[in-house]
Symmetry: C2
Subunit: 721 residues, 2 copies
Amino acid sequence: MKYFIGLFACLFFEMNLMAQEKVLTVEDLIPGGKTYTNFTPKTTYKVQWYGDDLVFSDENEIWIANPQKPDEKKTLLTQSELITLLNEKDINLNRLSFVSIENQPFATVFLPAKEKQFYLDLRNKTVAFEIPRKKDWANTDFCSENKRFVFTRENNLYISGTEGNTVAIAEDSNPYMVYGQAVHRNEFGIRKGTFWSPKGNFLAFYRMDETMVGDYPLVDIFKREAELKNIKYPMAGMTSHEVIVGIYELSTGKTTYLKTGEPKDHYLTNISWDPNEKYIYIAELNREQNHLQLNQYDITTGEKTRTLFEEHNDRYVEPENPLLFLKKTPDQFIWQSKRSGYNHLYLYDTTGKLIRPLTSGNYDITAALGLDEDEKQIFVVSNELNPIEFQVYKVNLKTAQKTQLTFEPGVHNAQLSLSGKYLLERFSHLNTPLNINLISAAVSTKYKPVRLQTAENPYKDYVFPKISLGSLKAADGKTDLYYHLIKPADFDPDKKYPVVIYVYGGPHSQMIKNDWLASARGWSLYMAQKGYIVFSMDNRGTSNRGFEFESVIHRQLGITETADQMCGVKFLQSLPYVDKERIGVHGWSYGGFMSTNLMLRHPEIFKVGVAGGPVIDWKYYEIMYGERYMDAPQENPDGYEQTNMNNLAGNLKGRFLIIHGDQDPTVVWQNSLSFLKACITARTYPDYFVYPGHGHNMTGTDRVHLHEKITRYFEDYLKYR
Amino acid sequence: MKYFIGLFACLFFEMNLMAQEKVLTVEDLIPGGKTYTNFTPKTTYKVQWYGDDLVFSDENEIWIANPQKPDEKKTLLTQSELITLLNEKDINLNRLSFVSIENQPFATVFLPAKEKQFYLDLRNKTVAFEIPRKKDWANTDFCSENKRFVFTRENNLYISGTEGNTVAIAEDSNPYMVYGQAVHRNEFGIRKGTFWSPKGNFLAFYRMDETMVGDYPLVDIFKREAELKNIKYPMAGMTSHEVIVGIYELSTGKTTYLKTGEPKDHYLTNISWDPNEKYIYIAELNREQNHLQLNQYDITTGEKTRTLFEEHNDRYVEPENPLLFLKKTPDQFIWQSKRSGYNHLYLYDTTGKLIRPLTSGNYDITAALGLDEDEKQIFVVSNELNPIEFQVYKVNLKTAQKTQLTFEPGVHNAQLSLSGKYLLERFSHLNTPLNINLISAAVSTKYKPVRLQTAENPYKDYVFPKISLGSLKAADGKTDLYYHLIKPADFDPDKKYPVVIYVYGGPHSQMIKNDWLASARGWSLYMAQKGYIVFSMDNRGTSNRGFEFESVIHRQLGITETADQMCGVKFLQSLPYVDKERIGVHGWSYGGFMSTNLMLRHPEIFKVGVAGGPVIDWKYYEIMYGERYMDAPQENPDGYEQTNMNNLAGNLKGRFLIIHGDQDPTVVWQNSLSFLKACITARTYPDYFVYPGHGHNMTGTDRVHLHEKITRYFEDYLKYR
C-alpha cells in the first residue's frame, strides 16, 4: 500500500483492493439504486458534537462522552426513554433518528403530522419546551434567542408566535415579489433569505422583485392535459431581478428597507449582522461583477453609514463568505478574499481598517471552520501542501502564525465543538473510506489524534477496479493538472482498452481529490467493471487552485478547458494499453457543455459522447453565473459566438447522445433543443433522450435508468468498434 | 408486363422497369429534397377546364381547344400578352403560372404585394374587373355572384367592399370566439367556415366558442427566451367547444344565428344552402356520434323547420359530404350515406322523402364528381371491381342505371367541365405514371377515350426497385387485405433480406392502390435501394372497403389492426428470401401508434421500429376523431386501458426510436413524452428524437434529415444483425 505524499509530477498510486468474487451492479453503484446505500462507508456509530461533549448514536441508543475520555460512553437516551419522554406530550415515537442534535444546547424533534417541534434537554431527559411548527412552512429559520420561526408561504414571509399564531412580515399581492428566500440564484454563497440578528431582536430578509424577469415556460406533461409551469429565468444580457434588504423589528413589527440604491440590478451578498445589532453589512457587487463594496448600513434609518473597503478585478470579484465577527472583540471580523490571487483571511475592524492579513501564499484557504474558545486561533482547511489533499490548520489571530493540525496524506475536514475546545475530524484517502478522529484545539505541535471510528471498505467482498491518481501539464505547458485513472479489475497491460473520459471542468468544482476512491463516481467504477479505462481530470477553470487558474476561462468558456482536456487525451494516447480509436466522453451540465466541446472541436478523436443537460449557447444561461464568466452577450459578442455549440453543429462526426430533463430549471431545455435544430440544419445526426418530469439532474430510481442508458450507448458504439 | 385485373387471391405483379445505372439519392426520393420535384410524373402540358373548353399550358404559353377537336390548339395567352394586359393596370408580370384558371368563367391573378386580384377574360384578352384583396386576409372566400370576399383576421370575420373598404361581420373581444373558420377540427368533411348562398345574398358562417376548451401549451424555443404558444386542444372526454351557425344578410348587415339548441357540444356538419336561399341544411350529429339528424332551418327566423331524416349506428355515423342540389329540380338533392354498410348515393326531396337510392351494393362510392348538363346523370368513382382500383361511372338519376366509363385497370379520377359535358380523366397504374384522357359525358357504351397527355417515367434512367401488388387474408380468415412489396433492384431470391414494414393502418386512409408505383413512398424505394424488402398493407380499419371493414376497430383501436398486420408478417416469414430475424417497422401518426403496437405486442418479432408522432394513449387525443373511434375514456375505460401503449412499455425488447415534432398540434407531445416516462419506470430503453419547430410532420429540407435519420436507425440495428 503506497501513500500519496506531497507534490509530484506524474506518479501513479494504485488502489488495489483484494479482488473478490462478487460483482457490483448498476443498482449498487448508482444513487437511487436498490442497494446503493449499502456501499457508502459506514462507521459503527454516528459521532456528533452536543455542546462540548461527544455524542455517539446508532438506531437503538444515544451515548455521551467527555472528549477527554472518549471511551467512557454513558447512555444518554434509549428508544424506550424517548417513548417515555414524548408520551407526556401525547406523542408515540421510538425512532432515535428523529432526534436531531446539530451541536445545539438542545436536541430537537420535529413531527410534521403533529405540527410541533420539541426541544429536548437530553442530559436531564426532559422536554425543555415545544414550539408550534406547521408542515407547510417553507424556508423555516429558528432563532434560539427569541424562540421564533420565520418561514415562507408562497412568496410571502411570516413569523411564528409562541402559541402557534403567525404574523405576516410581508404579504404581497404581486406573486413575483419574493420575500425571505435565497436570491441571485444562490450564487455568491447565498443559501437562504432570512438572517436573525445576534440577540434575536431583528430579522434581516431579502426581497426580490422578479416582475420584470422573463418567464421560461416549462410544461408538466403528467397533468391530464399538459399544463404550463412558468419559471422566472433571467437570461444573460436580459433584464435582471431587483433585490433589497428589509429589517424587521420584532418589538414594533416595523420593517425598514435598507437604502441600497441604484442600479437596482446589483448584487447584495453575504448579509452579516454587527454583534451590537445596530448595523448590518452587505458585500455589494455591481451587475458587471468586477467591483465590490463592503457597506455598513444603519438598521434604524436604512442609510448607508460607511463603505469599509472595495475590491476590483477586471475579470470578476466573487464574494462567497459573510463576515465572521469576533465575540470578544466585537468590532473586529474576518473577511475572505481572493484579492491576492488566492483565497485568504483578513482581520478587519468595523471602520474598514485592515488589522492584518491572517493567511497568505500561493494556495487557497478552502474553509474557515471557526474560532477557539479564547478567540486566539482560527481553524482553517487548505490544500497548501498538495492541490488534491486538504489539511486542517490553526492560525494565530495576533501573529498570523499557522500550525498544521492534520498530517496524514488525504482529505481532512473538521467540525468545532460548541465553544471551540475540540475538533471532530473526518479523514479519507484513496484507500481509506472514513476515519473519525478527535483533536484538541490546544495542540501546538505534532500529536497523536484520538481515533473514534473507522469505516470498513464496503466493497471488500467485490471484484473492484484499480484506481490511480496522477498529474500532467496543462496546455500552457506549466500548470499541473490532476487526474484519476480507473482500470478494470482484470486489467491486462498487453490488451487495448476503450477509454471513457468523464468530464465536468466547470467553475466551483474539484473532482480529483485524494479521498476515498479518489472521488471516483459509481458510474466510472461501473464502466471500468465493463472493461473500459475511465479517466477524469480537473482542467483550468476549476476550483481551489487560485484565481488565475480559475478565471483564465473568462469571456471564453470551454476554450481553455477543452485545450487542457486534450492534454489528458494525449496522455491517454501515450499509454500502451489505450486504444486510440476508441475514446469516448461523458459529462453533465458544464460537463455536458465540455463533452459537446470535445465532440465538436475534436471530431477526429472522440468516437462517442454523451452530454447531459448541456449548456449549448451561453446566451440561454442565467445572468448571475453566466455574466460572471462570459459578461453579457452585447459586451462579448465574439466570445458568445466562439463558445456557441450551435455554430459547430456541422462538425459532428462520432455518435453523440444528448440527454435533457424536460423540467430543467437550471440549463433550460432551449439549449439542447436548439442544438438539435442546428444539427438538423447542418445535416449531422446526434441522438437524443428526454427524462420527463426531471429537472437538471435525474434523481431517484430513474437515475439508474439514466446510467444504464448511458452505458448502453458506449456499449453499442464504443466497446467493439 | 402483366396487368392487374379484377379480384384475386394472392397474385404478384411486378413492376420491372429497365434497370439503368443512375442511383437515386435521398434528395431525389424525399419531399423537400433538392431534386425531389424532378421525379413527379410530368406531362408536356398542364391541362385544365376553362368553362367547357380545354386549356393547355406550359411556362411560355396558354392554349385553348374545343374538346371536340382537342388537337386544334389555339394560343390563348402568351407571356408578352400577359405583360401587355397587366401593364394597363401598372403591373409588370410575365409569369403565366400566376394565372389561375380553376374552371371559372374568368381566370384570376392575385398579386399580394399589390393587394389586388384581377379577373381576366382570356378569350377577349381583357381585364374584366379587379378587386382589392389584402395580403393579410386569411380564409378568403370569393363570391362570384356579388364579387365580395369574406376573410378572417385573427379570429374575426370581415367582408370586403368593392373599393377595398371592409366591414366586420363579427368582431369579438373574446379571443377564443372563432368566426368564419373550419370547426370540429376539420372532421366530418369540414374544410372551411364560410358558405355563400347560391345567389350571393347571404353568407352562412361558423362561430366556434373555444373559451371552455383546455389549453395545450406549446413552447417556441426559437425566441430569444423560449415563449409559450397555447393552442386550444379539446381532449377525449373533456369539455368540448361549442359551435353555432350565423347567417349574415348583405343587404341589411344583420346576422341571425340558427337555433341549433342543446347540448351545445354537438356537431354541426355539412352546411348546405337551399337553392332558394330561404333554408339552410345542417347534418347534426350528437357528441356520441351515433345519431344524425338532417335538419332544415329558416334563415330569417333561425328556427328549425324540419328534420328531413335521421341516421343511427351503434358504432358511429360519419357524415362527410354536403347536400348536392339539382339545379333544374331545386327541391331535390343527393345525399351520401353509409347506412347500407357501404357509401352510396340517395336522391331525396326537401320534405325528407327518399325518392330513390341511386347506387347500391357491397362497395363504396368514393367520390361524386357532379352532374351532366341535363342533370340526368351523376358521375361517380368507385372501387366496385377491385378494392385497389378506381373507375369512373355515370348513374342515371331516374333509373339508377350505372354505366362504366373507364376500363383500364388502375386508378382513374376525373373532373367535369363547367356545364358537365365532358370529363378530363387522369389515370395511373403501377407502371403508368400519368395519362390524361378526354371523355364525353354522353358516351353510353365502351368507347375509345381521347388521349390528351402522357407522362414519361421519371425514373427511366435509374436503378429501380421491383414493386409488386398482392393480397392476403386478414386475421378473421376471410377478408382480403392488399399489400405492396418492394424488392431491391438487384434482388436475388437465393439471398436473405431484412424487411421493413411501413405501416399506417388508420381510418381515412388507403395506402395500397394500383396507381403509379402502387403508391409506394419515396422512402420505401430508398430502403429497397439500400437492400431491404419493404412491405405495406392496408389492414381493417382503413377506407373504401365499407363500414364493417372500417368500423371493426371501434372502442379498441390498434387491436384488430395489429392482428391484421401480423398476417402480413406471417406472409413475409413464409417468403424464402425474407430473414425472419430481421423484421422492422416504421410508421407515422396512426402509423406511429401501429409501429408501437407491433413493437410492444410482438416484441419477439420486431427487432427494430421507428414511430413518428405516435398516439400513445388515446385520452391525449382530440374529441372529434378520438371519441368517434374510442368513445370517451369514462365510457370505455377498458378500451382505453387496453390500447394505452404506456401500459405495455415494459414489453419493449427491440431497438425502438420515437420521433416527435415539438410543435405537434395534432398528436400532442404529451403522447411520446409520457411513453418515455413509462419506459423509464419499466426499465426499458427506447431511443428518441425531436424536430424542434416542427408540427405533426417534418416539412421542407428537414424532412430529408428525418428520413436519413430513420434510415440510419435501420442501417445501425437491422441491416447486419
